[in-house]
Symmetry: C2
Subunit: 244 residues, 2 copies
Amino acid sequence: MSDRRLIRAIGVLESCFKEKFGTPRQPQLVPASRARLRIKPQFIPEQSLKGLSEFSHVWLLPYFHLNTNKAFVSTIHPPRLKGKTMGVFASRSPHRPSPIGLSLARLLRVEGDTLYFSEIDLVDGTPILDLKPYIPAYDSVPEASPGWTARAGARELAVEFSPEAREQARRHELEDLVSQVLRQDLRNPRDASQMRDGKPLACMLGDFDVRYEVREGTARVLEIVPAPEEHAQKRRVPVPGELE
Amino acid sequence: MSDRRLIRAIGVLESCFKEKFGTPRQPQLVPASRARLRIKPQFIPEQSLKGLSEFSHVWLLPYFHLNTNKAFVSTIHPPRLKGKTMGVFASRSPHRPSPIGLSLARLLRVEGDTLYFSEIDLVDGTPILDLKPYIPAYDSVPEASPGWTARAGARELAVEFSPEAREQARRHELEDLVSQVLRQDLRNPRDASQMRDGKPLACMLGDFDVRYEVREGTARVLEIVPAPEEHAQKRRVPVPGELE
C-alpha cells in the first residue's frame, strides 16, 4: 500500500511553538525560534541529507494538520488588512484545498538524521512532507511585486516584563523568544474579547506558559511558568494516519 | 470521501513543454516559455483568486505525476556535477518521498478562472496542488548560501538553425523558445548514446516536434514540424485519480 500513497511525512517537526496561538505568521520575525526535524529511518538520512549542510536556508513543506475546515473557504481576512478580504490563493493562509505550506527556515546544523533550525513559523507536531534546499539563483526575486502585502500595516506592540517575569525569562533564556513573539501582536483583530485591554492571554513556548496582557499597545508579561504536561497534550491534535 | 482527501489538484497545467525531454530544470532559463492554469470551478476562482493579479510571481506546487519510481532513491546525480552524488533532500529532483515540487513562475495575467504564466519549468499535464503568491519579504534571501549549486558548471550549447528550420521557427514564432530550450543542453551526461555527436534528438514544444543534433558544443536545429496527435498522446501519462 505504501507505494500507492501520494504523499508521506518524512518526519514530524519539534518546535518551540506548542500551539497555534503564539506561532508567528512568517518565519523571519522570530530569529530566537528553534525547531528540529528527525528524518525517518526509511528515508535513509545518512544518504538523503548528503550535501544539505552546505545550504544556509531550506524550504519546509508542512502539512497543515491543525486545519479543521469542513468545506472549502475561498476568501480570507488577513489580520493586517483591517477586515478586507483576499482570495485564499492570493494569501499564504493555511486554509487551502491542499493543506500544504511553504516555510523558509534557517538551517543551523545537521547532526546525523536530525536537522536544527531557527527562524521558523511552524507549530510543534507539524508533519513535514518534504525538505528542499533554498537556491538563491532560483528562489530569490527581490524585485517581485509584493501585491497587497505592501499595503498591510505591521501591528507591532511594545513588550515589557513584570519584575517576576523578567527574572523567570532570564533564568530560562526566554527573553528574546518571548519579546519577538509578543511584539507581533498575536491577537485576532476580529475577536473583540481578545482585543479588550487587560484580557488575560497566554501562549505556550517551549515547556513554559507565558501569561501576559495587552494595554494601550504594550504587551506586559506577567509570569512565565512551567506548563503542566496535560496542558501540552490537550493542545495537540493527532497527525493523520495516512501520513505516517 | 472528498473531505478525507489529503491533497487535491486545483487544476492541471497546460504548458508549452509537452514531454520531460525539453522541460527546463529551472524556470528562469526560458523566459519565452508559456503556460496556463484553469482553476477548477469547485475552488470558486472568482473569489479565491481575488488580489492575486497584483503579484508578479507565484509559487506553483506541482504533483510530479511522471515519476515512476517504485522505491525510495536516496541520492541523485545532478547533471551539472559530473557524476558526483547528492542527497535527494539537498536537491530539487522530482524523485522525492512526497512527489511535490516547488516552482516559481512569472504571472503574466489573470483572466477569469485562468492564470497565464511565463518562466516555467513544468511539463504539460502536471496537476497543480496549490498556488501561493511570492512575497519578497518572506521568500527572497539573496545572501543565502547556494551550497553545491555554486560549484555546478552550466553546460551551455551554442544554438544554430538550418535555413529550413530558421524559416519554420520564424513562421511559428518559436525562435526564442527553441533557442532558450536547446541552449541548456537537454542531454543526460550519463547516457553515452545521447551524448554522441550527431545523434538525432527531438523534443516537443507547443504543437511542434523540434528535431536537432549536437556536434562539438553546438545544437543545430534541423527541422520544426507539426507533431502528429498520436505522438503527443503517446507521451502523456494519466494523472492519479486521487487528485481529480
